[in-house]
């Protein structure tokens, strides 16, 4: 084991032992903060304990998670509807690699037309147009990871 990366903070057995020590005592909370982690042990109203951990990043490994998803910020002009994802995930324009896209710019869509799929945790969610109209722009890129507030594509409603 290398010296520059400290050991796991406490094992589950260590935590159980600390709780055994606290036992039937009057203390209902233990807040332990070290350079490496913070552990809060709290006794609930019915006497059951919870453990709440916050481990700090090891040197050289602290990478902002916020970079994981990309917002597709788009100014949507008046009269044009933006299609947003139902949940964050990976945006796919076609049902499988190599297949033609669900829709392209200029395509006529109906409320039930599938315009793309979003893959989240191995689950594929179809996204519907939600209105009758014409696709005027596709803002997300195929295979791109998108946030919940991203604009996937834009549709100009037509009666």
């Amino acid at each position: 084991m290398s010296q520059d990366t400290p050991d796991l903070p406490l094992t589950p057995d260590d935590v159980a032992q600390i709780l055994a020590l606290l036992g039937d005592g009057k203390q209902d909370e233990l807040d332990l903060t070290t350079p490496r982690y913070r552990l809060r042990l709290t006794r609930g109203p019915r006497g059951d304990w919870t453990q709440d951990w916050q481990t700090r990043g090891a040197a050289g490994l602290t990478v902002a998670v916020a970079a994981a998803a990309t917002s597709v910020a788009v100014v949507v002009e008046e009269g044009v509807h933006a299609v947003m994802p139902p949940l964050p995930g990976t945006f796919y324009r076609s049902p499988q690699p190599g297949a033609p896209p669900f829709v392209s710019v200029g395509d006529r869509v109906e409320p039930n037309t599938v315009v793309c799929i979003i893959e989240t945790m191995k689950l594929m969610t179809s996204v519907h147009a939600g209105m009758s109209g014409v696709v005027v722009a596709i803002d997300a890129e195929n295979g791109q990871l998108i946030d919940k507030d991203a604009v996937l594509l834009r549709i100009r409603p037509e009666g």
């Binding site: 084991m1 159980a16 709440d52 949940l87 964050p88 945790m121």
Partner: protein
Amino acid sequence: MIRRLFIANRGEIALRVIRTARRLGLSTILGVSEADRDSLAARTADEVVVLGPAPSAQSYLAIDRVVAAARAAQADAVHPGYGFLSENAAFGRALAAAGITFVGPTPEQLDAVGDKLKARHVAIEAGIPVVPGGEAEDLTAARARATQTGYPLLIKAVSGGGGRGMKRVDRAQDLDAQVALAGAEAQAAFGDSRVYIERYIARGRHVEVQVLGDGRDAIHLGDRDCSIQRRFQKLVEEAPAPGIPPAQRAKLHDAAVRLTRHLKYRGAGTVEFLMDAESFEFYFLEMNARVQVEHPVTEAITGVDIVEQQLNIADGLPLGLTQDTLAFTGHAIEVRINAEDPDADFRPSPGLVTRAAWPAGAGIRVDTHIESGGHIPPHYDSLMGKLIVHAATREAAVAAMARALGSLHIEGVKTTAGLHARIMADPRFAAGAVDTRFFEGLNRG
């Protein structure tokens, strides 16, 4: 001898493997995707290698990248966890070619249990009961099989899994059309149109046996019941399986050990059976050649560290345990806390976990990669953590789980904790011995 262990997985199982490896004094190297660079597992491992971008196909499933990373890190062995490359024979072969030990069975054994029809033949060779049925290479063969099995029956894809390509047929006049449909679906989903036919067991329980083999000898670590499933995904697991008559339980264990010996199996594995909930007759379903998600319930009642056993076996050591010295103590239950919304058809709920207060105390084990401020990326499965309780009796374990779930507190994402609380409160679950249709009858409260 293994000194540097590369872990080719993520999430709670990566942390689980690191914990044992560290206790044994091994250095741990974790391969991560870009999305997991800041994960708890990455911050816990001794060293981290970025395998590739977030999508699994370019990171956790990319055999060439994982093997190259393990070699560059000068790892002696690779632990594959579960899922991803854990049962991939090509991965095992690629590691062997690179002179790195695969912590798992041989590629030949992975091949033998990976194809369901092949696994069925292996089981028959070992004298293990299989569900009545068999191959149905064409319509004539399918009709002949159906006369043997009777109705209702199931048509299954040879290369299938996860319930896909499975058809239930109740009447003879529907057989032809369903066989054609199942074949077409199997071709589309798996690129293999072969199907086989099995008798449909109406009240079936999913019971499995944990086995260990060192290539010469084999033992079992008892059984588990995983009957509570939703769409063939396990929700609750417990050990031992409740309410099985002792003689039938002994037969079940014997069958699993026989199969393990027959394969000269090397590693930890699970032999899955379908058990009739009324007659306790059981039939071989498949063998999983890896550590299972639900392995902690077995660890709880046996005191055996299954990951340690896997590492010892991979190191070439003979089994350090004998069947006679193993003792089973009490009852253990595990629930899977998933980031999903049970009120919205189990829609995934990834994102920032603003607070994670997990239960703690005697008899409680939490295997999780999510703590307060943790992030659940949308690319992988929704398992946030596993809550395991161990108590003297099943009744006490159910009560302990209900209490633990009552104190669990997760903010920021939706979880399945409330669903588990309803399962623990369900009188059918309290009575034990539920079948795989339990979920359909659950009170949606």
